[in-house]
């Protein structure tokens, strides 16, 4: 399996994010406040894997996706794509990055131009990257076949003439048309009906093998993330709270938030219903988030230290590392429940 585009070799992670941060300024009520949408997020994405990102609304997962594609300018931090820093003098340019990384959005309808036949939407990428119009059109038709749509039947149609699942297939074709190495799937199956969701998940799985892709799979549906991901990253209010191999996260969650999130999944068994909610209250607003550990306002184990100091996300060494940011896991943190 050799790929001419593979610069750094198989051991080089495809993407390294270091301390990414994005703060939006919002004005309201006469004072300005900062939304700490993404606040010091680091992770490593290996070639050929699927990294799942989970979290509730306001946790910054969508902003993170846009930071990775430079659709939103980062305020701080560093991005390294296949060994080359993005936007640095000796590294890869933003345009170069976008040649290799593509994105599929949640809203399958608004992510297609309503006034353009879908085959032209798919052809737009190759066209922008220098293919002639007929050539780009040919690529688009090939791509439509690959995502399971008959190009003669569906190519000339407009988005409103397709069902949700068909539109999302077109979006996938659009993302893959410029042969990226990595695809960010931002809630790409969340809006679909379950029966269609399964079809698209299977399709994504087949395409990943066929095109040797790396996925960043963002979703709020934990069951889907578990099925899709090799590793999982859990976010809460702009920070990483837990990161580790999928099985470890789902069978041995370490952070109280991850446990609450997993425990909030409906049981699927009417005889064993959930009687007590794992945690109470809503996620706080990312505008002026809580001090210290951001979860301390809802955490059943919160102590004084949690409000004072933000816990470190353990030491991440290699692919199989399982780390979480909680004082209870940090020896000498001052939390009474700290494991020794």
């Amino acid at each position: 399996m050799s790929d001419a585009r593979d610069v750094g070799g198989p051991a080089q992670p495809l993407l390294i994010a270091r301390d990414l941060a994005k703060h939006f300024q919002v004005r309201g009520g006469g004072r300005s406040a900062h939304v700490r949408a993404v606040d010091g997020v680091s992770f490593t994405l290996f070639k050929g894997e699927t990294l799942g990102i989970v979290g509730e609304s306001g946790c910054g997962k969508s902003t993170l996706a846009r930071l990775l594609l430079h659709l939103v300018q980062r305020d701080a931090g560093e991005l390294i794509f296949d060994g080359e820093p993005v936007g640095a003098p000796h590294g890869i340019t933003v345009a170069g990055l976008r040649r290799h990384v593509q994105m599929v959005f949640q809203d399958s309808y608004s992510s297609l131009n309503p006034r353009m036949p879908v085959q032209d939407s798919v052809a737009f990428g190759p066209f922008v990257h220098g293919r002639s119009k007929p050539d780009a059109r040919r690529v688009a038709r090939d791509m439509l076949v690959k995502v399971g749509l008959n190009p003669d039947l569906f190519g000339p149609r407009y988005p409103h003439e397709l069902s949700g699942g068909q539109k999302q297939r077109v979006n996938i074709a659009r993302a893959l048309a410029i042969e990226p190495r990595m695809v960010i799937l931002d809630e790409a199956v969340s809006a679909l009906d379950k029966s269609v969701e399964a079809q698209v998940l299977n399709l994504l799985r087949a395409l990943k093998q066929q095109f040797n892709l790396t996925y960043l799979f963002i979703s709020h549906d934990l069951n889907v993330v578990r099925y899709v991901s090799d590793r999982v990253l859990v976010m809460y209010l702009g920070r990483v709270v837990e990161l580790g191999p999928s099985e470890a996260i789902f069978t041995r969650p370490q952070h109280p938030y991850t446990r609450a999130l997993l425990g909030s999944r409906p049981s699927m068994d009417p005889r064993h219903r959930i009687e007590e909610p794992p945690i109470t209250g809503d996620p706080p607003s990312p505008i002026d988030p809580p001090s210290g550990c951001r979860f301390h306002t809802r955490c059943p184990f919160a102590e004084a230290v949690c409000a004072e100091r933000a816990p470190e996300l353990g030491e991440w060494r290699e692919r199989a590392s399982h780390v979480a940011a909680c004082h209870m896991l940090e020896p000498g943190s001052g939390h009474s429940r700290t494991v020794q």
Partner: protein, 300 residues
């Protein structure tokens, strides 16, 4: 294994609604317009007026400029003058027919200029950064602060009368509104995911505007422009009436209204004619514009 191979193919047979006719957006609009008898009727009237203006020399029974001291203010049907004569003895019917020319020009030209300039500014304002947007839109707001009639009168008063100046004045009046419409439409389109997706593909701003923004902005801009035509005709007549638009002796409905006004007690019916022409023309344009608006409101 076999499932992996068959899955994408499963979608191939997924020929959802086969009878759903695949039509482009504009074809859809055309289809709706063809099935709207009211709009078609008024469009026919507009077409008649346009033809009348084009073929005025063939249609007019008399020279619209020929004055006659003895034929002043004659009633309908006097010596072959079907609609009588005006205060200088010129044939009214001929002047009405010729008057369509200036009215239509004054209706269409300022709107076209405003659509081109205002639309461009609006798209730039909507798509460029915050600072460019602020400069453009705040400038437009200054113009917006004046009532349109007052502004038109002030501008053409300052530039001096005449048809060209009148058109320029009207165009200036319409540009801010046009710009606002284009800017709003652009900003709306800009916030949609497909623009972000296009950016993610690595497309430059120009390509995005050309392929993804324009097509979506054109609709609302065109609808608004078509509704401005009738306003423009009315305003132009107003300018002429005040002596700021078309100069005598050019035949123009607004001007005719102004000069015939003094004779309202002698030939009341003749007096009403140019007004009626203005009314019919502007209302027809208005209704056609309404029809186009509802035809273009295809749910996408």
């Amino acid at each position: 294994m076999s499932q992996t191979a068959t899955l994408p193919i499963a979608g191939l047979n997924d020929d959802a609604p086969p009878a759903l006719r695949v039509r482009g957006y504009w074809a859809n609009v055309g289809h709706r317009l063809r099935h709207d008898p009211v709009t078609l009727c008024f469009a026919a009237v507009v077409l008649l007026i346009v033809l009348m203006a084009i073929f005025a020399p063939l249609l007019a029974p008399f020279d619209p400029y020929k004055e006659s001291v003895v034929l002043r203010l004659k009633p309908f049907g006097y010596r072959g003058h079907t609609l009588g004569t005006d205060e200088l003895g010129r044939d009214l019917l001929s002047r009405l027919i010729y008057g369509a020319r200036s009215s239509l020009l004054m209706g269409l030209v300022p709107v076209c200029i405003a659509t081109a300039l205002g639309g461009t500014l609006g798209v730039i304002g909507g798509f460029a950064g915050r600072r460019v947007n602020a400069i453009i839109m705040r400038t437009m707001d200054v113009f917006y602060a004046f009532p349109s009639v007052l502004l038109a009168v002030a501008i053409s008063g300052a530039m001096g009368g005449g048809m060209a100046n009148g058109m320029a004045a009207l165009a200036l009046v319409f540009i801010p509104a046009m710009c606002r419409v284009a800017e709003t439409a652009t900003a709306q389109v800009r916030s949609l995911d497909f623009i972000e997706a296009a950016r993610a593909t690595g497309a430059g701003r120009l390509a995005i505007v050309r392929y993804h923004v324009l097509g979506n902005v054109l609709g609302p801009v065109f609808i608004y422009a078509s509704s401005l035509v009738s306003v423009s005709i009315l305003l132009a007549s107003g300018l002429s009436f005040l002596g700021l638009g078309v100069k005598p002796p050019t035949p123009d409905w607004g001007l005719m209204l102004s000069t015939l006004r003094q004779s309202i007690y002698i030939v009341p019916l003749s007096c009403a004619l140019p007004g009626a022409a203005i009314f019919v023309t502007s209302i027809c344009f208005n209704l056609v514009s309404d029809g186009i608006r509802s035809a273009m409101d295809v749910r996408l």
